[in-house]
Symmetry: C2
Subunit: 224 residues, 2 copies
Amino acid sequence: VEGGVGRGRIPDVAVKRLPVYLRALQDLAARRVEIVSSAELARLTGFSSEQIRKDLTYFGSFGTRGVGYHTDVLLERIRRVLGLHEDIGVALVGAGHLGTALARYNQGRHQHVHIRAIFDSDPAKIGQELGGTVVRDVRDLERVVREEGIRLGVVAVPASEAQAVAQALCQAGVEAILNFAPVRLEVPPGVQVENIDLSLALQSLAYYAAADRPPSSKGRRFEP
Amino acid sequence: VEGGVGRGRIPDVAVKRLPVYLRALQDLAARRVEIVSSAELARLTGFSSEQIRKDLTYFGSFGTRGVGYHTDVLLERIRRVLGLHEDIGVALVGAGHLGTALARYNQGRHQHVHIRAIFDSDPAKIGQELGGTVVRDVRDLERVVREEGIRLGVVAVPASEAQAVAQALCQAGVEAILNFAPVRLEVPPGVQVENIDLSLALQSLAYYAAADRPPSSKGRRFEP
DNA sequence: CCCTGTGAACTAATTCACAGCG
DNA sequence: CGCTGTGAATTAGTTCACAGGG
């Protein structure tokens, strides 16, 4: 949720929605649904149909009026826009519980974003396998990332080490970082940082939990 | 990143920034800094100073012109707005790696959002301790959440179980859910859902990594 | 006729610019 | 004088409403 380059073309908010559309389209494709309307996508994703249509126009128009979109045409198009048509390598730094969750999560499923290297500083973890990848010494990070042409970094280390890791990642040439450490990372201009801070997310949710509703209204039914 | 109630008062985007301010203020307080200006907070958080001042006006005005804000007055005020002045209980569902990371993360540190119950369906995990809390059977979820007056739920279970868990949480009266499962949760109106999908985050980052820059510009220095 | 594609209208959020006050 | 607080201007994002084409 950090500012960043922006890079003209597609609004950041729309870029965040594209993977959601992608997931819905993958489900549809798996169920052999060949045509889908923006209304159907709206139902599946929770965004409005006009929002979806507008988002799609940012990079072309490939629907058929009166009909809808070809599932796999749209799928392929969004994939391409996101850069997921070519394999994109990810370096995961930090093989703690969060790192492990990420590695497992990523394993196999999302075809074109692959964790290609995992690093940690703990000798007990180095050499272990995690989701099919061997954990390496974080001191080799720069070399490996460069050699493998990795362009995306994930920071899942304690706050105290996060900045040093980010620095090494940038030095090695990554172009975007997903940061889970509860600190603001200083990166060179042009490197996109996305922060996901688990405790901050909980804290802002607290606002919605605390507010208005009297604690008496316990127990809510669906579709009242 | 789900719509939700909105609840009038403070814009959602601002609510998301408040915890960031809070963290900066906690750091300052720990370093015995008594006064802080919006410019200084801007430097620490990465948001603009006018943004910060504007956000603060949503719930009052407590700075001193020509001077700045009293660190602990502001701290206390934001805490109160977020509802963090009173202890707020969280139910964590799913004691896998992600759940464990969250439990560890939360342990001790952020004073007023506490994980008060952890649930799982795996008999091997039930009874184990995690960050100072014993893992319970998910079948007891509704009863325990109700008894303990828990108002916040965290869904860290596989996609296939997420909807059932969300339903149980809502039935038990939670008012907001932090969802890590890669599905759209159906919840009754009035329940705020915040989705954090780790693979989607990676995918949207891919857009920024893939774009423009030729892969030749490897290795970036800070402050060029 | 139906659903896409899109300007136009609207709404939300950010930034500007400066008055006001300690 | 310096920094807050805030309307006003601007910019971004969403929704409306309908023209246009299969």
